[in-house]
């Protein structure tokens, strides 16, 4: 008895003016979600012992010995590290350095100072070339000649390196780059791959890297040049010998070497580890409340902090901080005590909007996007682009000045 209603619904729906697909925005949002959805599955256990790849290793400089001492003399400090636009606050809000680029994308703790990833915009993914600078503990800004694109990076606060995976000639290669010496330290071929970007973390001599095409994580001994499959199900959260994982029932932190469960979450969510791996922030993206818990991995004790977990960054030694327009709040994750420092947000001009273009098939007869319901038509266009007319559409995205927090991963 509702046939007429359905008929009218179908007709009016068909006549709707459908806006063009927001492909760029979907991909950008999807990458961001993917980074945040890194909930892992499977039990945590020690890494498998089978060596699957005796990789090609190329060591430079010291020939594979321990890294050269930190040229700055001491590791980065214990204060908040963040950026606003292209201004980096490298040791609390009173120590500021300017990066000669449009915007900062993310900040990494290394033993040589704060490694800054920057570029033409603040986008973490899909934003063009990713350039790097090192801000030393004295506030000197040293350009690093490394340039990457569509690449995930990771650092270890105790080492002067940044690590990443890249596909070279159909093979996954792990690169360890010495940001103090401004030179590639090691390159290890892991395995053939069909993928193009690789989640990664750096913990001592091990780079954990995921080949998403095979849904497999590898532990790469970058000094020895070997790679083994790892039961660290997600490479996003490995630090200080610990890994954030999930037993299926709850988020846990495990000792990677022994496989022991060190901490189990009391509520839903996943663990985001501090850069040194000693603390774990429980992030509940689905629900969450006005507070979140930070666990001491060694003792299991927790402190509660207020706000959205993503509003807080990590200091190099495991405290948490957040930044607003006029204050920086840093909280001791062992005690929950917080200190507030005043902060003067820099007055810098808004960045110009970004224009992107995308090619899309033109529907026969120029009939808007109606042919996008026609799977056969679309498939043929993508399989045989020469048989279809294509049009370019432009999207203009307004840009804002963004705050980036060290210890917080922004990459997909």
């Amino acid at each position: 008895m509702t046939e007429r209603l359905k008929q009218l619904l179908d007709g009016e729906a068909h006549d709707l003016a459908v806006p063009p697909p927001a492909t760029h925005d979907v991909l950008r949002q999807g990458r961001g979600l993917r980074r945040r959805n890194r909930l892992v599955t499977g039990a945590a256990a020690v890494a498998a012992a089978v060596v699957v790849g005796s990789g090609v290793v190329a060591l430079t400089g010291d020939g594979g010995k321990q890294a050269a001492p930190d040229p700055a003399g001491q590791p980065v400090g214990h204060n908040a590290v963040f950026s606003y636009g292209n201004e980096v606050f490298y040791d609390g809000p009173r120590h500021r350095a300017e990066i000669q680029d449009t915007a900062v994308k993310s900040l990494f703790y290394t033993s040589a100072g704060v490694l800054v990833r920057h570029g033409d915009n603040a986008w973490s993914d899909g934003g063009g070339p990713q350039r790097f600078s090192l801000v030393t503990t004295e506030g000197d800004v040293r350009p690093v000649s490394l340039v990457t694109e569509e690449t995930v990076h990771a650092s270890d606060p105790d080492q002067p390196y940044v690590a990443y995976g890249e596909a070279v000639g159909g093979e996954l290669q792990v690169v360890v780059y010495d940001v103090a010496a401004d030179a590639e330290k090691a390159r290890v071929t892991v395995r053939p791959t069909a993928d193009t970007w690789f989640p990664v973390s750096l913990d001592g001599d091990t780079v954990y890297v995921q080949d998403r095409a095979e849904d497999e994580t590898y532990a790469v001994d970058w000094r020895a040049g070997t790679a083994e499959p790892s039961d660290v199900a997600s490479p996003w959260e490995v630090a200080g010998g610990n890994a954030g994982t999930d037993t299926g029932d709850a988020a846990t932190v495990v000792d990677v070497a022994e496989g022991d469960v060190l901490v189990t979450a009391d509520g839903p969510g996943y663990f985001d580890l501090s850069p040194d791996g000693r603390y774990a922030q429980l992030v509940d993206e689905e629900g969450g409340g006005p507070t979140f818990e930070v666990y001491d991995v060694a003792t299991g004790e927790t402190v509660s902090l207020e706000g959205n977990p993503f509003e807080w960054g990590w200091t190099a030694d495991g405290d948490m901080f957040k930044v607003d327009e006029s204050t920086v709040t840093t909280c001791d994750t062992a005690t929950g005590e917080c200190t507030v420092e005043s902060y003067s947000q820099p007055s810098i001009p808004e960045p110009p909007p970004i224009t992107e273009t995308v090619s899309e098939p033109v529907c026969p007869g120029g009939d808007s996007y109606s042919c996008y319901d026609d799977e056969v038509f679309l498939a043929n266009c993508y399989d045989h682009p020469e048989e279809c007319e294509w049009q370019e559409s432009r999207s203009i995205t307004p840009m804002t000045i963004e705050v980036k927090l060290a210890g917080r991963a922004y990459e997909s």
Binding site: T2, R4, L9
Partner: protein, 171 residues
């Protein structure tokens, strides 16, 4: 294909799904910007959760389910569309009067509370069963039935018996 799609493959999927998803989203939400936002979010979640999607063939269905689930979560948020575009129902149409030419179904949907509207769209546009609608929106089957009945009564008042005949509530 167990591997994640390349950006080009996913762009192709976006193009193929976009119009259909947008139509459902617009019917459910009644606002172009919200509908576009909903479709974008559903597709982004599909991209981000590829491990669950597993294949390009399964992706449109996953995206559609995600779209409805996401809309349902929006409805649960306090304050979602508390402001209503049309709060006052018009005088009931007589049995002999067909108002369908004067008022579109989309206009009439705009007078319904968000969840009632979604129930109507899922039942009569997406052709989902009562059980499926209940599951999609996270409500009981009884609520689906009562919301359907109430919604159809309102639509009948606006669109006339020829569009929503008396007794259609029991479909």
């Amino acid at each position: 294909m167990t591997r994640p799609p390349t950006d080009e493959e996913f762009a192709e999927l976006v193009h193929a799904c976009w119009a259909s998803l947008y139509r459902t989203a617009y019917l459910m939400l009644g606002d172009a910007a919200d509908a576009e936002d909903l479709v974008q979010t559903a597709l982004a979640k599909t991209y981000a959760n590829w491990r669950k999607v597993r294949s390009v063939e399964a992706a449109p269905g996953y995206a559609r389910t995600t779209l409805v689930n996401t809309a349902a979560s929006w409805f649960r948020k306090k304050g979602w569309r508390n402001e209503r575009p049309t709060e006052v129902l018009p005088e009931p149409a007589s049995a002999h009067e067909d108002l369908s030419d004067r008022r579109t179904v989309i206009d009439a949907l705009g007078t319904l509370p968000p969840r009632q509207r979604a129930v109507v769209v899922l039942r009569y546009y997406e052709d989902l069963s009562v059980v499926q609608v209940a599951h999609a929106l996270g409500i009981t089957e009884g609520t689906v039935k009562s919301q359907t009945s109430e919604a159809l009564s309102k639509l009948r008042a606006l669109l006339g018996d020829s569009v929503v005949p008396a007794g259609a509530n029991n479909d």
